[in-house]
């Protein structure tokens, strides 16, 4: 999904890892190997940033425009994500 979205729309994708417990690095390492993830991954180990945004579940996607304004939150279903990205692209 991530490669597809990046390729299709010129959108940067930032993965933020949360809720892994006290030693997240081996878990994230395994995840990257299993799924071939090469995107930027940031670590929110205490989930403080996630909570500040009201994130209560995973996955949660947040779409941000070039002005830094949040356009959509949630977007778990692929068709919802595609529609939101298309709308963002149309506004540009």
């Amino acid at each position: 999904m991530r490669r597809r979205e990046e390729a299709r729309s010129g959108l940067d994708v930032i993965l933020i890892d949360i809720w892994e417990g006290s030693d997240p690095r081996p878990e994230v390492e395994r995840f990257c190997e299993l799924w071939g993830v090469e995107s930027t991954i940031l670590m929110d180990e205490t989930a403080e940033y996630a909570r500040s945004l009201g994130v209560r579940g995973v996955p949660t996607n947040i779409l941000v425009d070039e002005r830094g304004i949040v356009r959509a939150v949630g977007l778990v279903r692929l068709d919802d994500l595609d529609a939101a990205i298309d709308e963002l692209s149309a506004r540009a």
Partner: protein, 371 residues
């Protein structure tokens, strides 16, 4: 506005004489820390306990439901995902995904007493307590194991489809439903012959199921599609699909039989879905990243294992029935606002990176957990 009639508010029938917020039709009575990545949960009514499979710690947490405290834990096999409590044998069973086995725990002594080999990566468990069988969906083996609850002998291994995991049963029809995550399908198996007698395509990421036998239907959770499939157990055909919350992953049928509870991992909620109208009546707020869900049959309280919070929520469902109007999802409060700045460590480089780096760029943030 409250009506003159006791127990009604804005046309909502209420289950208790208290105000119901239509957008918050539940009340959290407790949230109990249990351990890393709790998944399967089951209730021991006689002892007033809940047993919770903590999949990242390879143990079962034991919760006292009277005091809402974690009182013990038992080591089991590798990565226990699903869990069943058998009152008759007084044993707890876990499906240990990375152990390719079931762990059997004596519930009185809280110690591991046996290990049963099953197929590869067992991820779903369901028991027919009357027939004395437990079923394991073996996801990497594309099969279902049938094990005798008392002797622990393997009775049969049944071929299913890729990602065979969640299991539901209808003893009245002599059927087992095995949900296949990768194939996005369900296999229907005859309990007399152990042969597949039907199949149906469902939504992507099919991962949980529950039978409403009086209706002759099985509800199947589709985690990637974000829907619930309703399937006839007589024709094996899809009846309809119901939208629930984001990334639904767990399901249980209420003992009353009138509703289902569907945990939404992507939203931190549990959907209450009518078994007859197949409509979402409301969403209960629970902990972060909810997964396994069960109902305490002695009092109707809903227990939810929250993988993100590492906790179990005990929630009272205040909905007496379907609401007069469907509750619509509200837009997230962040939409239309500037994203708050972040400064987080990059996993690959170890350097701290700020949101300022992405100024004047369009981007998608994906919050995820490796489980």
């Amino acid at each position: 506005m409250a009506s003159a009639r006791t127990g009604e508010l804005d046309g909502y029938a209420v289950g208790a004489a208290c105000r119901i917020d239509a957008r918050a039709p539940g009340r959290t009575l407790a949230e109990i820390a249990v351990g890393l990545d709790p998944e399967g949960v089951a209730v021991d009514v006689a002892r007033r306990r809940a047993y919770v499979a903590c999949s990242r710690e390879d143990r079962v947490a034991v919760v006292d439901l009277e005091t809402s405290e974690l009182i013990a834990s038992v080591e089991v096999g590798a990565e226990p995902i699903d869990l069943v409590f058998d009152e008759a044998s007084d044993r707890i069973f876990t499906a240990d995904a990375h152990g390719d086995s079931l762990s059997v725990v004596d519930a009185a002594e809280l110690r591991l007493v046996a290990t049963v080999s099953v197929g590869m990566y067992p991820s779903g468990l369901c028991a027919d307590f009357e027939a004395r069988r437990i079923y394991s969906g073996n996801s990497m083996g594309s099969s279902m194991s049938v094990v005798d609850l008392d002797t622990l002998d393997t009775i049969a291994t049944v071929e299913a489809e890729p990602g065979a995991g969640a299991i539901a049963i209808d003893p009245a029809r002599g059927l087992v439903v095995c949900v296949n995550f990768i194939a996005a399908s369900a296999t229907f198996i005859d309990t007399q012959t152990w042969q597949a007698v039907g199949r149906v395509d469902v939504g992507s990421g099919a991962c949980a199921a529950g039978v409403v036998s009086r209706r002759g239907e099985v509800f199947i959770v589709n985690s990637l599609a974000g829907t619930l499939s309703r399937v006839s157990l007589d024709t094996f055909e899809l009846v309809d699909e119901v939208a629930v919350g984001r990334a639904p992953v767990g399901l249980t049928v209420a003992p009353s039989g009138d509703r289902l509870y569907v945990s939404n991992r992507g939203a931190g909620t549990v959907s209450v879905v009518g078994a007859d109208d197949a409509a979402q009546w409301g969403q209960l707020t629970v902990g972060e990243g909810p997964g396994g869900v069960a109902v305490d049959p002695s009092n109707g309280l809903v227990l939810v294992a929250n993988a993100g919070s590492g906790s179990v929520s005990v929630v009272e469902d205040l909905l007496a029935g379907a609401p007069p109007r469907p509750v619509e999802d509200e837009e997230h409060w962040l939409v239309g606002k500037p994203l708050p700045e972040f400064s987080l460590v990059d996993f690959h480089t170890g350097e701290r990176r700020s949101s300022l780096e992405w100024a004047e760029r369009r981007y998608l943030i994906n919050f995820f957990a490796s489980w």
